[in-house]
């Protein structure tokens, strides 16, 4: 009977599940009337990743980078840090991720060829659609009000999930190493937090991470944009 008296992971948790989900309520009400605009901007990502125009590709990267900055400011800094002091240490990494997304977005050499309807591109697009459109509704699925839904651009998990999708679709093999580490670590830490809080949604993140890794390891590395010239034949 005293085994459960020994230390639990939850002993290190400073806040309750209720407080955690209400952080999203607060952010969503802070954005208020602009929430539909934020959702619409998220949907633009779904269109932007298919574009062959440089300007649109750069704008798409800019938008995703802006989403990392806004979720760092609105979620981490303004709302999460007061209940979890460790959150403020994540802010520089979110800003760095925004910078890396821009770097990849504006540098054609870090993009993969636009043959995105392959396995990696398809999984990436599904992930992006999930993050932008389906992830907010997981709150309803688990009995939370839609008010605490997590939207891309406001909530870090949704934004990081969208970035996994974006990276799978857009980034060259090398650029994956730039885009994935921070997103994967942010999601892993968040997954651990949700697991410790005992919330049933905790399983969403490991599944997304497993799908990403499985896709990367099971698909043949594609030639990067710079290597797309046909091999020279004698």
């Amino acid at each position: 009977m005293d085994t459960w008296l020994s230390y639990h992971l939850s002993d290190f948790m400073l806040f309750s599940e209720r407080v955690y989900w209400r952080l999203f309520d607060q952010i969503n009400s802070l954005v208020g009337a602009f929430l539909p605009a934020v959702i619409a901007l998220g949907c633009l990502l779904l269109v932007g990743v298919w574009s062959r125009h440089r300007a649109v590709q750069i704008a798409t990267a800019l938008l995703l980078a802006a989403f990392w900055i806004s979720s760092a400011c609105l979620f981490l800094w303004l709302h999460y840090a007061p209940v979890n002091w460790a959150a403020r240490y994540a802010v520089p990494f979110f800003l760095l991720e925004a910078g890396l997304i821009l770097l990849v977005g504006i540098n054609p050499q870090l993009n993969r060829p636009l043959t995105r309807w392959d396995a990696r591109g398809s999984v990436g697009f599904v992930m992006l659609v999930y993050a932008v459109i389906a992830h907010p509704f997981t709150s309803l699925m688990f009995g939370r009000p839609l008010g605490s839904a997590e939207f891309v651009g406001l909530a870090p998990d949704a934004t990081a999930l969208a970035t996994l999708g974006y990276a799978l679709m857009v980034a060259s093999n090398k650029a994956l190493w730039l885009l994935l580490p921070i997103s994967v670590i942010a999601l892993a830490l968040s997954g651990l937090t949700l697991y410790t809080l005992g919330t049933p949604e905790a399983w969403v993140i490991p599944i997304a991470l497993l799908v990403t890794l499985a896709t990367l390891f099971s698909t043949k590395p594609l030639a990067d944009a710079t290597n797309t010239a046909p091999p020279a034949r004698p």
Partner: protein
């Protein structure tokens, strides 16, 4: 430690406290009139009466900027004072809990009978004083009633600081805390070697490690004891939910598992105050009701512990 029985009115207790503490308490206000008489124990170093149930704030009061939850916490504090409670415990480690307390105290007005217990928790000896100052600002109190070295972190230098503060009248009582039984030996050494008004340890019906040496030593040395984690962070209550409360719990008016568990803790004669944490007004009332009713005696306590152990 002898009980100060609930025959005294709350106003009397506070007046007695004022006299004993050199008239250093907050002025009496509306709370003293609404609060029922509750069982109190004397703080050995001063004789000041302390209601035996207090309020913790770990997790429960870490609500950030959420106005709804800030107001809910203030309602818990109001119910706590209304039921005769005084001691509230917090720490710079508890996220925004200190700010929540400041919000609540400000909302409830200056006349609350709060006994403010906070901690110093920094590994850097030079940061202790500024951390305490920040904590006072967050609570909105001019000085704390009790300051404790949290989990013995850097206790030598922090206790030196607390002793200096006490001598200068900047804090009324000083103490040390731990929630880990494996640190009891070191804890005991500090109790032996340092002048302390309070100690704070984890103590509940299944975590009885402090019964062996710490609690008897506290009684010997005249140190007040705060019992934290009376419900083992609710795990005890979860574990017992759905299991039958023994009929003999009626003998000491325990009508729920939480009261059964809390009465076990506060009936130990060495305990000055137990500090269950809660987010709920009904729970704080239920907990405070333990301070008003009868408590189990030594034989009943053994029976209670055996019953829960065997479940």
């Amino acid at each position: 430690m002898t009980d100060i029985t609930p025959t005294l009115t709350r106003r009397h207790l506070l007046q007695q406290s004022l006299a004993l503490a050199g008239a250093s308490m907050l002025p009496l206000g509306g709370w003293a009139d609404v609060a029922p008489a509750v069982r109190s124990r004397a703080i050995p170093s001063s004789g000041e009466a302390m209601p035996i149930v207090g309020l913790g704030t770990w997790i429960t009061f870490n609500v950030g900027n959420d106005t709804t939850l800030l107001n809910e916490s203030a309602a818990v504090m109001a119910a706590f004072f209304e039921a005769g409670g005084r001691m509230i415990d917090s720490s710079p480690m508890y996220g925004s809990s200190q700010n929540t307390l400041g919000f609540g105290l400000n909302k409830l007005g200056e006349s609350t009978p709060v006994f403010s217990a906070d901690k110093v928790w920094t590994s850097n000896a030079n940061n202790g004083a500024s951390q305490i100052e920040t904590s006072e600002q967050r609570w909105g109190v001019p000085r704390f009633d009790l300051l404790q070295v949290h989990n013995l972190v850097n206790w030598e230098s922090h206790l030196r600081l607390l002793r200096r503060m006490k001598a200068a009248g900047e804090v009324r009582y000083i103490g040390i805390t731990t929630s880990e039984s494996r640190r009891h030996a070191e804890f005991e050494n500090v109790m032996h070697g340092q002048p302390l008004d309070f100690i704070q340890v984890s103590y509940n019906i299944l975590n009885r490690d402090s019964e062996n040496r710490i609690l008897p030593l506290a009684m010997d040395k005249g140190i007040a004891v705060i019992a934290n984690r009376p419900f083992q962070q609710r795990r005890l209550i979860h574990h017992l939910e759905g299991k039958p409360l023994p009929p003999w719990a009626q003998e000491f008016d325990a009508t729920s598992w939480s009261q059964f568990l809390l009465k076990y803790v506060i009936s130990h004669p060495a305990i000055t105050c137990a500090i269950p944490a809660t987010t709920r007004v009904d729970h704080v009332r239920e907990n405070m009701a333990c301070a008003a009713g009868p408590l189990p005696d030594a034989t009943q306590r053994e029976r209670m512990a055996a019953y829960v152990r065997d479940l």
